[in-house]
């Protein structure tokens, strides 16, 4: 789920940037530093939308760096258990498949793939229904439900299922190609 929220961060800036474009520099640095990171609490920071305020800088002794408390608005993404997500399959193996929904890696175990889908090894490993009508392979788009989330310091890993109503392949690369 996406959230728009205000976060705070202490930015350290090298003295060489002190000058007319200080704010600009801070913003760029903030964006560079923050976007794409993942915190266990909030999830992935997807984008910084606005810098709300930049506090007074504090010169750090010894280094000359200045620490600015920066408040910024950003969009964060955090998966939750039970959430339905759309994801792109990145890897298929006999244990299941991995899919990515933005920055989040989701594993769908073969236990959580409908029983009528079977693993087909070969050049392009895939899961196919017995009648061959549905196929999950690399780059397929699937809709899945998250059943478990493991949040590490710098990574969020999910386990998903497509063994439920209205879940499964939503877009086949073969079909579009």
């Amino acid at each position: 789920m996406f959230f728009h929220m205000v976060l705070e961060r202490n930015m350290q800036l090298h003295p060489r940037y002190f000058g007319p474009h200080l704010h600009e520099k801070l913003t760029t640095k903030l964006v560079k530093d923050v976007e794409g990171t993942c915190s266990g609490k909030h999830g992935f920071v997807v984008a910084v939308t606005k810098v709300e305020s930049i506090g007074k800088g504090l010169i750090r002794e010894g280094t000359g760096f200045v620490t600015f408390p920066v408040k910024y608005q950003c969009v964060v993404f955090r998966p939750f258990r039970g959430e339905i997500l759309e994801a792109v399959v990145t890897l298929v193996n006999k244990m299941g498949f991995f899919a990515e929904a933005g920055p989040v890696n989701i594993f769908v175990s073969n236990h959580l793939i409908p029983d009528d889908m079977e693993f087909q090894s070969g050049d392009i490993p895939n899961y196919t229904t017995s009648d061959g009508s549905v196929k999950i392979q690399k780059d397929s788009e699937v809709r899945l439900k998250i059943i478990g989330v493991r949040v590490d310091a710098a990574e969020i890993f999910c386990i998903g299922t497509i063994k439920d109503d209205f879940l499964g392949v939503i877009n086949d690369p073969d079909a579009t190609a």
């Binding site: 890897l91 244990m95 594993f107 175990s109 236990h111 959580l112 478990g148 989330v149 890993f157 386990i159």
Partner: protein
């Protein structure tokens, strides 16, 4: 023994009241607490049993085991009297037994005894029969017993002993003690019998009370006696008892010795058991029927039958062949059997009404073998069926059933404190099956749960066995027992009490019992460390191969070997790992970019082409890349550095000080490439070693440990004592002998082979206080170090000979050489690798070149001026002056002058410091012996292109150079351009270094390299190294 007596009483009572109700009496007996009986009776029975059992042992086979047990118990009943009038009863007794054996399978348990009347009658019979004989002795015996046990505390015994009374029966300090005596292995019973026999023979002479051999205790028997001496006395002369060591059994443990293991096997249907005997030994079996009366169980097994053999047998062909192999467990297939022309009968079991396929007297059903076995031949304790086994057992189609079975077993193996408050549980048995809830309280066996369902009481109490832990898919759990112990992962699927979880680290599916799992937020792969080695460490293996630990198992590691293009995983034990490779090296990628650790590289060729990730380890040009999308081998890929390309900038190199990096990057970039490259550039060691040696008694060779390569002493090792021209005198290590060998017949074992790095003493001893300061700059293992290290080696190799020419320079590294050149050091590096020295000699030239010309500069470049200078700066070489006089005459001028370590002071600020502050502390400290010239010392000034002339130091300048007056002129000379004039006998001298630096005195004698000095101020006579003595000018 007290028991014996009690029984005796009973017997008597019985005898007397015989006419009265026998049965009542019997019951009384039965009601006696088990503890009393269980404990002591065993003692007797063991004693007695042996007689009976021994005779029959041969006849008895597998199945008879239980009979033995039975009989033993029966014996026990009678044995009270038996013990005391054995002559009279033993024989008849045995006969009795034999008679009885056939009839019954009667089982008497220590505690609850179940018998029918008939049994009782049989049981009673012997005692009745014995009576006439018994009667004769009884009175006497009673007397004896009274005497013997008059002291014992437990004479009385009521109808029903209370617990307190039972306690009183426990042995106390007053009772005879139990001693453990070693005996011959396998002859325990025999030993006990021997003791018994001895007792019969000797009677009262033997002061022991009893002897016990326990079936489960090998190599020992117990002897009950009051004193150790009695035991020894009794054991004397018995060859199968070793009475040398007699151990006292602590009172507390005495009961344990004789307590009967509680055999309360709760065999019920669907329990998992393991077979103890036969071809199915160790196989898992499932109990399908229990016959408690006959002590037999019917178990279900996966048959291990060889149809061919059966077919042969049925057809009467060579059956005689002994079974040579164990048929693998396989389900029985009727069709297959029919194909082999084996007759398969279909029979209905009369009891159960089920149909079985009968083949060769074996019953099969659904492919399983149904076998009736005795309870003795299965073990039901601590059965932990593995998943594989269960999986095999579960034939396709019947999943629900199998689970229940494993459940029951699991429950019996549960640890204490299995359920914790807050655990989610599900009821698996009873009316409320499938009710979910949370544990509220645990009381022993009972667990109170808060049910999930509304409308139920707040808490419900369940027996532990009715509950099972419950997890939902997506839960993050940790395995707390079993093979996978410690692994964490997320639950993917729940199949009743079996979970399928996805391991966090290996991304593999693991099947575990819900019971073995707890919810946890922690992420581990189980054990991550054994000994010094941790997951993802790069380790050197036994056979010089190396690899990354990708998985830590209970006692071994899985290591992905460093073989590019072919992922090879080996399982290694801790001891097979030599050491951890913890060096930060670099390599070159395909385009000769430097690859450092943590750089992100992409594999360009090979099987893992296209993979990308940070480099975790580099070793010998092989990269271990961690690709998080790679699922095998914990995400590690092994690839040659040359087949990879660095993506983006090098992270690793940025961390380091850039000047160093750029300068030495090339040098460092490929550690493994260096040796071959250096080789040609390096001066061959022999060259440097051999030059200018002739005619000198001492040079760098002296004191070295060498190996003789050729000649009659080939292979010997020894230390060089003297070098004369082409001849070297070697003191052999192995013989007290000094031999003379040709110089070209020896090989240096150590000096070159002892790499600098491995012997930090070279430069880092206490004498070089400056050295350590350098270390943080250059991590120890970095090749950086090489350049830094070089000067010292150079000092040892090349300049050494210069120094040898030039002994007056006190700062010669020879000292180092010597200090470190003590046999221990040299000797410890026995392999003389010809490949190694070249490296060093290569290194040497690098700074060496600078040395010859601009030494200071070169050091600066090396970035380690201090270290190198200190390496030299401290060490007066005591061995040099032993050839005094000669040296100054051989000034081969320019060639050696700059090479002399004296050149150091040119590096401003290092040695200069010492000179600037010729304070006493410096010398007193003894460590910072930066001793240099002192005023009024006579020196030889040797300048390139000039003749040497003798001068007198007038003043020492802060940078280490001196103002020297030569004749009438005064010039400034670098220390490198000077050398001290060696004083001669009765010269006035000044001590140049050591605690007495600065003191003057008179050289009153010379003894080899030592000078005998009388100090001016104290008139003490000191023996000092000639090299630290400077001649004072006599002006």
């Amino acid at each position: 023994m007290a028991r014996g007596r009690r029984d005796e009483y009973e017997e008597e009572e019985e005898d007397e009241e015989e006419e009265e109700d026998l049965e009542e009496e019997d019951e009384e007996e039965e009601e006696e607490p088990a503890g009393r009986r269980g404990g002591k009776k065993r003692r007797r029975s063991d004693f007695i049993d042996d007689v009976a059992v021994e005779d029959e042992d041969e006849e008895e086979e597998e199945e008879e085991e239980e009979d033995v047990g039975d009989r033993r118990r029966r014996n026990r009943k009678r044995s009270g009297s038996q013990f005391f009038d054995i002559e009279a009863t033993v024989m008849s007794d045995e006969e009795e037994e034999e008679e009885e054996e056939g009839e019954d399978d009667f089982f008497v348990d220590g505690g609850a005894e179940l018998r029918d009347d008939e049994e009782r009658a049989i049981h009673r019979r012997p005692s009745i029969l014995m009576q006439p004989e018994d009667q004769l002795d009884v009175d006497e015996l009673r007397q004896q017993l009274h005497e013997r046990y008059a002291r014992s505390s437990h004479i009385e015994y009521g109808e029903e002993a209370t617990e307190v009374e039972q306690q009183a029966l426990l042995p106390s300090v007053k009772d005879p003690k139990l001693w453990m005596v070693k005996c011959m292995m396998g002859h325990e019973r025999e030993a006990a019998i021997c003791l018994m026999q001895k007792y019969f023979d000797k009677g009262a002479e033997l002061h022991i009370r009893s002897a016990i051999a326990l079936d489960h205790l090998k190599n020992y028997i117990y002897v009950e006696a009051d004193k150790e001496a009695h035991v020894k006395e009794a054991c004397k002369g018995l060859r199968n008892i070793f009475s040398m060591k007699v151990q006292l059994v602590p009172i507390k443990e005495m009961t344990d010795v004789l307590s009967v293991e509680s055999k309360s096997i709760d065999l019920t249907r669907d329990t998992w058991v393991r077979m103890k005997l036969g071809i199915y030994k160790g196989d898992l079996a499932k109990v399908v029927d229990v016959d408690n009366v006959r002590q037999r169980v019917t178990v279900k097994l996966i048959p291990r039958i060889d149809l061919q053999t059966i077919a042969n047998k049925l057809e009467g062909r060579d059956v005689g062949k002994k079974r040579t192999f164990l048929p693998p467990p396989r389900f029985f297939n009727t069709d297959e059997a029919r194909e082999m022309h084996i007759r398969v009968e279909r029979r209905r079991d009369s009891n159960t009404g089920e149909y079985f396929e009968m083949v060769d007297n074996m019953a099969f059903k659904d492919g399983f073998l149904y076998k009736s076995v005795s309870m003795k031949s299965i073990s039901s304790q601590n059965i932990q069926p593995t998943f594989d086994e269960l999986e095999k057992f579960r034939k396709p189609g019947d999943d629900a059933d199998g689970d229940l079975a494993s459940l029951s077993t699991l429950f019996s193996n549960r640890k204490k404190g299995h359920f914790m408050k807050g655990d989610a549980v599900i009821v698996v048995r009873g009316d409320l099956k499938n009710l979910m809830g949370w544990v509220e309280k645990v009381e022993e066996e009972n667990v109170h749960i808060r049910p999930k369902m509304a409308g139920l009481p707040k808490t419900l109490a369940f027996n532990e066995k009715e509950l099972c832990k419950y997890f939902k898919p997506g839960d993050h759990v940790k395995v707390i027992s079993g093979i996978q112990e410690g692994t964490t992962g997320m639950v993917v699927k729940v199949e009743s009490h079996v979970l399928i979880m996805l391991s966090d680290t290996t991304k593999e599916h693991i099947r575990v019992f819900a019971d073995n799992v707890v919810e946890s937020s922690e992420v581990t792969s189980g054990v991550t460390k054994i000994g010094d080695y941790e997951l993802h460490d790069l380790v050197l293996l036994d056979n010089m191969s190396f690899g990354v630990i990708i998985r830590v198992e209970k006692e071994a590691f899985q290591v992905l070997k460093g073989i590019p293009d072919k992922p090879e995983v080996v399982l290694v034990k801790l001891r097979e790992i030599k050491n951890k490779i913890d060096r930060r090296t670099n390599a070159q990628d395909r385009y000769r970019n430097t690859v450092s650790m943590k750089d992100i590289v992409r594999v360009l060729e090979g099987p893992s082409k296209g993979k990308q990730g940070p480099v975790e380890h580099i070793h010998r040009g092989i990269l271990f890349i961690h690709d998080r999308h790679h699922l095998e081998h914990a995400g590690f890929i092994c690839a040659k550095a040359q087949s990879c390309i660095v993506v983006g900038g090098s992270l690793g190199s940025r961390d380091r000080s850039d000047s160093m990096d750029s300068r030495f990057g090339g040098l460092r970039s490929s550690d493994f490439l260096q040796s071959p490259m250096r080789l040609p550039r390096g001066r061959p060691p022999i060259d440097s070693g051999g030059r200018g040696r002739g005619g000198r008694g001492h040079d760098s060779m002296v004191g070295k440990c060498i190996k003789i390569r050729l000649g009659p002493f080939k292979g010997y090792r020894g230390r060089v004592t003297e070098v004369t021209g082409e001849l070297v005198r070697v003191e052999l290590d192995s013989q007290m002998k000094i031999v003379t060998v040709k110089r070209d017949q020896i090989a240096d074992t150590s000096s070159m082979a002892t790499p600098y790095r491995e012997t930090p003493r070279y430069g880092m001893g206490s004498e070089t206080p400056l050295h350590p300061s350098r270390t943080p700059l250059h991590p120890y293992m970095t090749p950086m170090r090489d350049p830094g290290a070089t000067p010292i080696h150079d000092g040892m190799r090349t300049p050494m000979r210069d120094r040898a020419w030039n002994p007056y320079v006190p700062m010669s590294p020879a000292r180092d050489n010597w200090e470190d050149g003590n046999p221990a050091t040299w000797g410890t590096s026995p392999q003389y690798q010809p490949g190694t020295p070249p490296i060093r000699s290569y290194e040497a030239p690098t700074p060496g070149s600078g040395w010859a010309n601009t030494p200071g500069g070169s050091y600066n470049e090396a970035g380690t001026p201090r270290e190198s200078s200190s390496g030299y700066g401290n060490a007066p070489s005591p061995y040099l002056p032993s050839t005094p006089g000669g040296q100054p005459m051989t000034p081969s001028s320019a060639s050696y002058l700059p090479g002399t370590p004296g050149g150091q002071p040119m590096t401003p600020g290092n040695v200069g410091l010492d000179i600037m502050s010729p304070t006493i502390e410096n010398y007193i400290s003894g460590e910072g012996e930066g001793g240099w010239y002192l005023p009024d010392i006579m020196v030889n000034v040797l300048r390139p292109g000039e003749d040497p002339h003798v001068g007198v130091v007038r003043e020492v300048l802060p940078d280490g150079s001196c103002k020297v007056s030569v004749g009438s002129t005064t010039l400034t000379a670098h220390p490198g351009e000077m050398e001290m004039v060696q004083p001669k006998k009765s010269d006035k001298i000044r001590i140049m270094s050591g605690a007495l630096r600065g003191s003057s005195g008179k050289l009153i004698g010379v003894d080899g390299s030592d000078g005998i000095v009388r100090l001016d101020d104290s008139l003490d006579v000191k023996i000092l190294d000639m090299v630290i003595l400077g001649k004072l000018s006599v002006q």
